[in-house]
Symmetry: C2
Subunit: 205 residues, 2 copies
Amino acid sequence: MEFSSKLLENAVYEISQLPGIGKRTALRLVLHLLRQDIDQTTRLSSALVNLRTEINFCKSCHNISDVELCEICANPLRDKEVICVVEDIRDVMAIESTGQFRGLYHVLGGKISPIDGVGPSDLFISSLVDKVKAGKVKEIIFALSSTMEGDTTNFYIYKQIEPYEVVTSTIARGIAVGDELEYADQITLGRSILHRIPFENSLKS
Amino acid sequence: MEFSSKLLENAVYEISQLPGIGKRTALRLVLHLLRQDIDQTTRLSSALVNLRTEINFCKSCHNISDVELCEICANPLRDKEVICVVEDIRDVMAIESTGQFRGLYHVLGGKISPIDGVGPSDLFISSLVDKVKAGKVKEIIFALSSTMEGDTTNFYIYKQIEPYEVVTSTIARGIAVGDELEYADQITLGRSILHRIPFENSLKS
């Protein structure tokens, strides 16, 4: 792409550094901003800078939070003995929106992935182990995605907390509600048969 | 979506104001920025603000340009008697990349669209008419998209410059090179038969 303006080229380049946004889309977004009021651009750029410079994380679960202890961790009605281990804030939001979980979360900040240069020390694993060591946790629920990286991370953490008295579980994998069996992949269908549950339990929710 | 942080919510909201970006994608982009070096965010936001505050347009063709007269208008090798009328800078870039056009451009900045509140006075039409009036232009090529808005704009400009001695043409519509006839839409196929060209001409490029 040949640009008639350095300013334009620079803006398009910076936007196209974002994941999933190519140069064509970046140009479309930039032209949109040029057509809008200048306020929209200043609001956007200051929102990004403010977020990046002033962002805070909950000192207990490492979720993004404006206060020292996030709303969930600070809520006296939540069950502090059950901790759900997730990758990032999106997973917290997804699980919260189901309304089915009343425990706390622990945000790892990623998954162990040697290919991307992410080792156990880059994630918030030791603080999770410390919580277990302190003996106040009854159950750890693994809710990472079931990829090789997710499974590796689960297993690594499992090995760390195995010596202590804590129940570990992982969220159920199976056919999604409403899905047709014939379109399900073999591994998922296989697991859903292997880990079948008593029929009466399925009537509960 | 419920956010655990006002800063995060604000950043996601501002990004999701961009066309084609929903809240989910905005959150993904924001989390990506949080994982990157802070420099990336500052570079992105200053690139946007700089573009929006310092942007200039060519005083002749209204294309985006850092200098008063854009590279194309200032090029002595371009044919100043042929002007191609386009909607925005993306069309200029697309036509330039073909290497088939040696004339100048005139960027309207949009199309006449009463539904979006865009009237003739919102576009750079009068400056185009002035160029024709000055008598230095031999041909005007309409290269707007063939939508109702594009056709309306073409016709409006055509009516304005009709009294003057100038050839008007519009880019050829037809079956795209490499496309199968059976998948072409009826209108395009119909036009490509109506506006067929001598076979020898088709051998030229």
